[in-house]
Amino acid sequence: MNSVAVNKELNISKKTSFLKGLGNSASLLLIAAMFILGSIVALSFDIPIKTVMGGYSYDVLVILIVMELFTNLIAETGIMQLLAIKIAEFSKGQKRMCLILFGGMMFLISSCLNNITAVMMILPIVFVLLKTLEVDRKYVCVFFAAILALSNTGGAASPVGDFPAIVIMTSGITDFLSYLTHAFPLFAITSVALLSIWGLSVKKERDDGAVRSLAVSNLKSQYKNINIRFDVLKWLGLIFIGMFLAWSFVPQNMVPPEAIAILGYGIAVVVCSLKKVKVAQCMDMKSVLTIASFLFFAQVISQTGLLNMLANFLQTNISNPKLLIMVIMVITSVVAGIFSAGPAAAAMMPVIIELCNGPLSAQSDWIAVAYAAAICAGSSMFMWSATAGFILSNKVNAAGIEEAPGKKATWGVAQYMKYGLLNYVVQLSIALIVMAIVL
């Protein structure tokens, strides 16, 4: 090979590694860009950064971090593995039942705990089961599309489930109990609809069930001696119920939700330390920083008054409040779909607050839920829209589930696209119908 060719190859290799490095740090660049852009906008509108930070939603970040750490403690008890094994056993390895039961579990766990951690906990068992059940590409796509959508609906069903719900709760337009009582039934109905649609798309097996039975038996053998720390779990459960009650009944202006979260986590850490359970302090700081940067940017935009103008514009041009909410829901869902849930929640929140302080103040609880439903629907649209999307995709691809002998199943942006759009349409349609009825 001559030196020109070698140099050319070297240049290509350098370029490829540069692009790869850029791709890996794209999210970090986005975080930096949001902070820099926000600062430039604030300074060009003559708004001091100190004023921006005065209204910054630190409480959202605190709750987000604390809930993820609390989820780590629950995960250490091994309860999620036990639940997953029980589900596999109950389903008898039937693919449709597996989808429905794991999806239902995902919804319930995500409604209480951080959905990324919840996904991480059940995935190893799901992978082992799917590998032995011999699934095809369609089932892989349907299964994980359902899991992703249900982690979103679960996250929106309670005020502490996911970032948008935390933003809504801390905004003051609704309180913990009102949000929970309005949102949980709506998202439970949406989840049932999603499970029915995806469940029905899975064909029933036409075999004697022996291979499935063997798959479940082997799975049980792989986890039969795991140590479930019920002694710790009961205390953590008690603390979590206490936190839930405090969030529900203690006035936010007396003890703010983030203080309750910190207090609860503090007690949980003490219990775990006394019971000699590993207190894992690891968490995904990248997602926290992303949310922090978008909160900052949204706060800057809010201070400029542009969002108030947008809210006023919408109110002036759309006189029917019901229609107004629906239009905002559609806009919010599209923003959430394109830019992901975090930015959408942060960016559109000032508009929602403006509306709740205006003619729709009597309906603020439902508006909060409508807003959450729109973000939730948008989050299920594309893989990048969902909080757990890329993490789930990476794990599925790394698991090496075979769709045919020797052929590994891949599940990425393209494979999720059509399933995501259906998730979006179903979720938004249900939310719009419910809002048309209740508002």
Binding site: D207, D208, A210, S213, L214, S217, N218, S221, Q222
Partner: protein, 199 residues
């Protein structure tokens, strides 16, 4: 369904116990029959006999080349003071290894040891090797990684026994198995006389 992969994680006997429950299914025979000899339904009874036979050597440590969880549990019930060592291949999937270390029997001391290292306090006087596989017409068949580990630990001068989870009369060779060199083994368990071939 890759039963051999499962067997590498939970052991041949545990896999065989699960397989024995569905061994009459044509689907199972079709999917697994070429790679894993289908065990007899009375395999659980054999396991108790095998545990008794292993304990009769009076060793304090038993080093297995496949993670025989089911056998370790029975040995633990019969002799809680015995110590079990599972030697796992160095190329074992890290997730499978983590699952195995979290899934060790509780009522007996079990340690997982990774190839190519040697455990401490490991002498012919207190330890014996247990190699598991199946036998076909007196040929000892094991997984390729078990074969490799047996060769690697061949410098050990203590007792080395072969325990088949099933004894086949014919010499049919199943996919993914290798024949063990007879010189690597001192004794072999046989069901009919619960004894062994000579040293």
């Amino acid at each position: 369904m890759d039963v051999q992969k499962t067997a590498r994680e939970i052991g041949l006997f545990e896999t065989a116990v699960n397989l024995a429950k569905v061994s009459s299914s044509p689907d199972v025979l079709e999917k697994i029959g070429n790679t894993f000899p289908i065990p007899m339904e009375n395999i659980s009874d054999n396991m108790s006999l095998i545990a008794d036979w292993l304990l009769s050597f009076g060793k304090s440590k038993y080093m297995f080349f496949t993670p025989e969880i089911a056998l370790a549990e029975i040995i633990g019930e019969k002799c809680p003071s015995a110590e079990i060592i599972f030697a796992v291949p160095c190329d074992m999937d890290p997730e499978a290894k983590e699952r195995l270390t979290n899934n060790l029997p509780r009522h007996i001391s079990v340690n997982v040891f990774e190839e190519p290292y040697f455990p401490q306090d490991f002498f012919p006087a207190n330890t014996m090797f247990v190699v598991c596989g199946y036998s076909g017409a007196d040929r000892m068949m094991v997984f390729p990684d078990t074969y490799r580990m047996v060769e690697h630990y061949n410098v050990f001068k203590g007792k080395k026994v072969f325990v088949p989870y099933i004894e086949l009369e014919g010499a049919h060779r199943y996919d993914g198995w290798m024949e063990l060199n007879t010189q690597r083994i001192n004794m072999k368990w046989r069901k009919e006389n619960e004894q062994c071939c000579g040293e």
